[in-house]
């Protein structure tokens, strides 16, 4: 039986009708049309479906939508609400951290969570952090480079007291997430 659940997705409260067995990834993609979150393996291995739940990276194919009721969910779309890329997205672009791009949204969400608790990682730490994200194209070299580059940019921005991403404003938050979007905007 379906029930009504409120999900805070990319800082907007969305009401969805879901069965208890509905997986978060399906609700995001099929009900909310947020198709940036991908399904690679469907068996908790590949990380393509990674989103942030209360700031922590989670494989959304291994999570029921009802479990995260009321929690803050951030998908790849939520990293660039006004269209200006997050420093992590920029770094993947500039450093060629992708080829086909299928793994990229999940890779980026994991990396954003990781840098939140380790802003100045070694390459070994970066590799350990993305062990739950498979890339079948790049060989990982440029992904590691992109994450290291994003870390440098984000450290510099936070030292300069700038928010890490658009929309630019007087926000002083140090979180790797962008500042809040006005309620009701977007999608």
């Amino acid at each position: 039986m379906k029930r009504s659940v409120i999900l805070n997705v990319n800082r907007i409260a969305r009401t969805v009708e879901v069965e208890p067995r509905s997986l978060l990834v399906h609700v995001l993609r099929d009900d909310l049309n947020l198709t940036g979150t991908h399904i690679g393996c469907d068996t908790s291995q590949c990380g393509a479906c990674t989103v942030l739940i209360d700031g922590q990276a989670v494989k959304s194919c291994t999570q029921l939508a009802v479990q995260v009721e009321g929690m803050d969910i951030t998908t790849i779309e939520g990293l660039a609400p006004s269209g200006a890329l997050h420093p992590m997205q920029n770094a993947f672009w500039e450093k060629h951290g992708l080829q086909c791009g299928f793994c990229t949204p999940g890779m980026i969400m994991t990396a954003v969570d990781f840098l939140g608790s380790n802003p100045d990682p070694t390459d070994d730490e970066i590799r350990h952090a993305i062990e739950g994200n498979y890339c079948r194209c790049t060989g990982y070299q440029n992904i590691v480079l992109a994450i290291r580059t994003a870390a440098e940019v984000m450290r510099a921005q936070s030292a300069a007291g700038q928010p890490t991403s658009e929309p630019a404003g007087e926000s002083t938050q140090r979180s790797p997430l962008p500042a809040a979007e006005p309620a009701g905007a977007g999608v």
């Binding site: 039986m1 069965e19 208890p20 067995r21 509905s22 997986l23 399906h26 469907d42 068996t43 908790s44 291995q45 990380g47 990674t50 739940i53 922590q56 990276a57 989670v58 494989k59 291994t62 999570q63 029921l64 009802v66 479990q67 009721e69 994991t110 969570d113 990781f114 608790s117 350990h128 952090a129 993305i130 062990e131 739950g132 994200n133």
Partner: protein, 285 residues
């Protein structure tokens, strides 16, 4: 892949959760869901009702207990990694947790879920054996404390009754100056241990005064190696460690599967047990 239909109830308190699982058929509790949901997606489990215990405050938190610690059953691996108390008192918990799954799995998986699930390959059970942890259980009928050493009964089988929940885990203090190590050989894709070994060693004036070795991944459940006792009174010379590691799986029916045939696992057991003993000994002060 989606699970079969079920009813979902989020428990707000221990009382609610215990009432919901008492005497009911087809009920399962869900914590992080990182063992249960994959099994449900494959439809190997088809519960009629899921009781979500992940937001129960009583199951949370890591607190000092004398010189030991209390870890709530609902504590995630991430919280273990971020805990200063555990880092300082039980570095082996940090070491083992670092090897479990991946960043996303560690954000969601809980220690209580891992112990209740009792996957023979899971990493945490042998550490609980080596630390001589006590697992606290509760049902509507009452509370009981079970030593980890009596908790595991077989592959995916534990002492937990159908109407019981794990509430917390008590880890007693280590002997002063003890060195610890969790060493594993992982299955490359999943990160689960093909063989994992937990060792705790303390010494006094050059002589070993405390020695415990426990293994996971080798047989149908994690187990304590009885022979490790014989190191007490020894000096920890190579031949002594070789003997204990070499005989670590004696009398155990060794698992063979697509990742490692039994012969290879037997070989790995000796190698990994030896490394764990060596590392713990080196870390002992």
């Amino acid at each position: 892949m989606i699970p079969t239909s079920f009813e979902y109830v989020r428990a707000g308190s221990m009382r609610e959760a215990l009432a919901a699982i008492a005497g009911a058929e087809g009920v399962k509790v869900i914590a992080g869901g990182h063992s249960l949901l994959p099994v449900m997606k494959f439809r190997l489990a088809q519960p009629a009702r899921l009781i979500d215990i992940s937001r129960i405050a009583e199951l949370k938190g890591i607190t000092p207990r004398g010189k030991g610690a209390r870890i709530g059953a609902g504590v995630t691996y991430r919280e273990i990694l971020e805990s200063e108390i555990l880092q300082e008192r039980f570095p082996i918990l940090h070491e083992v947790t670092h090897t479990i799954g991946d960043l996303q799995v560690r954000n969601r998986g809980t220690i209580g879920g891992s112990l209740a699930h009792a996957d023979p390959a899971s990493d945490m059970p042998s550490v609980m054996l080596a630390l001589d942890a006590t697992i606290n259980l509760r049902s509507k009928r009452g509370k009981r404390a079970v030593r980890a050493r009596e908790f595991f009964k077989g592959a995916f089988v534990t002492e937990l009754a159908e109407d019981e929940l794990i509430t917390d885990i008590i880890v007693p203090s280590l002997p002063p100056g003890a060195g610890t190590s969790y060493t594993s050989f992982e299955q490359a894709a999943s990160g689960y241990a093909i063989v994992g070994a937990s060792a705790v060693i303390a010494r006094k004036r050059g002589t070993i005064s405390h020695a415990v070795l426990a293994l996971n991944g080798v047989g149908e459940m994690a187990f304590l190696v009885p022979g490790a006792d014989s190191l007490v009174g020894a000096r920890g010379e190579a031949a002594e460690l070789d003997r204990v590691a070499g005989g670590a799986a004696d009398g155990i029916e060794i698992t063979g599967d697509i990742h490692a045939p039994a012969d290879y696992r037997r070989h790995l057991t000796a190698v990994i047990a030896r490394r764990a003993l060596d590392t713990a000994l080196q870390r002992a002060r």
